[in-house]
C-alpha cells in the first residue's frame, strides 16, 4: 500500500499552495506503469487523509498512466514495452534500456476561489 505514502507526499506538495483557495476540485497525476499505482487505493488513501477538510470534499483525482518505454541497444529503435516484455519489436533483440515508465508526477490542480 504505497498509495498512502503517495497521497501524503501529494498533500505536502499541495498544502503550501492553497492559501486563500476554497476548494480543490481536481488534481491531475501522472504515473509510469512501473510504479504500480492503483487508482482506487490512491483515492481511498487520499480521502482518508483529507477527511473533514472541506477544501478536499469533492476532489477528483485524474490519473494518467504512462507506458514503459524502451530503447533497443542493437537497432536503436524506441518503443512502448507491452506486458513488460523486454524484447525489441523491430529486431527481436532483448538488450533494452528502459527509458520511461518510472514517472510519478503531480501535473496540475484545479481550484475554486470565492470572488
Amino acid at each position: 500500500m504505497h498509495e498512502t505514502g503517495i497521497a501524503r507526499r501529494l498533500l505536502s506538495v499541495i498544502y503550501p499552495m492553497l492559501d486563500g483557495k476554497k476548494q480543490v476540485t481536481r488534481i491531475k497525476l501522472r504515473f509510469g506503469e512501473l510504479k504500480m499505482v492503483q487508482k482506487d487505493l490512491l483515492e481511498t488513501a487520499f480521502s482518508t487523509l483529507t477527511r473533514g477538510d472541506k477544501r478536499f470534499k469533492d476532489t477528483i483525482l485524474e490519473i494518467e498512466i504512462k507506458p514503459v518505454r524502451g530503447k533497443c541497444n542493437t537497432c536503436q529503435s524506441e518503443f512502448d514495452i507491452k506486458n513488460f516484455e523486454m524484447r525489441c519489436p523491430f529486431c527481436g533483440e532483448t538488450s533494452i534500456d528502459i527509458t520511461g515508465g518510472y514517472e510519478s508526477e503531480i501535473v496540475e490542480m484545479e481550484v475554486v476561489e470565492d470572488v
Binding site: 504505497h2 476540485t25 512501473l34 503531480i106 496540475e108 490542480m109 470572488v115
Partner: protein, 223 residues
Amino acid sequence: MCDEHKHEIITLEENILKDNDTRAAENRSFFREKEILAVNITGSPGSGKTTFLEMLIPHLGKDNIAVIEGDLEGDIDSHRMESLGVRTVQINTKGACHLNAHLISRAIEKLDLNGTKYLFIENVGNLICPTFFDLGEDMRIIISSVPEGEDKPAKYPPMFVSGSMLVLTKIDLLPYIDFSSEKFRDHLSRINPKLPVFEVTSKKPETVIPVAKAIKKQSKEPR
C-alpha cells in the same frame, strides 16, 4: 456552473518523489565516497531474506559488512545479525510497507561504517511498494522462494524488472512443491533477460558461494 466562483488551474509538473529521490542521490554519493557497495534486499515476507544474509556473511567477512534491517515492528532480525557479530541498525516502519531514502540516511548516521565494504539493507517484505522508492543503493537483490510459486515474476513484474540479481531460495523444497523451474526462468527471461539467477538452500549453506563471488565482483574497493 457556479458563477460566483472562479476556477483556476495551477500547473505544478512536479515529481512527487522529489524529496526521496534527492535524498537517495545523496546516499548514493555517500556510498561512492566511502567505497561501500549498498545492496537493497527485497522479496516477500518469509522468502528467506534474513536467512540468505546469515548464509552470505561468513563468505564476505563479518567485519566488512554492515546491515540495516527494515521491518514493520520488532528487532528479531537485527538480533539475528548481531548474534553473528555484524554491525546492525533496526528500522521499524510502523505500518509503512517499504523503506525510503530518508530512513536509510538516518540509519547510516547510527552505524559505524569504518572498514565497511558492503552495506546490506533488508527491505520490508513486500513485492510492490519497495520498487517505488529508490534508497540510493547500488544493486537490488530479489529473494524469491520456491513455496511462493513460479508465477511471481509474471504477477509482480516491476519488482523483477528492477532487480540486478535474483536468488531463488528454499530449493530443498523442490521435491515437495509443484514449482516449475523452467516456467520460473521463462517468466524471468521475458521481463528481465539479463538478470543473473542463483539457487540456494539453507540446508546446504555452501550454495551461497556463487552469490558471494558475484557480489564481490561488484565491490567498490580499489583492486
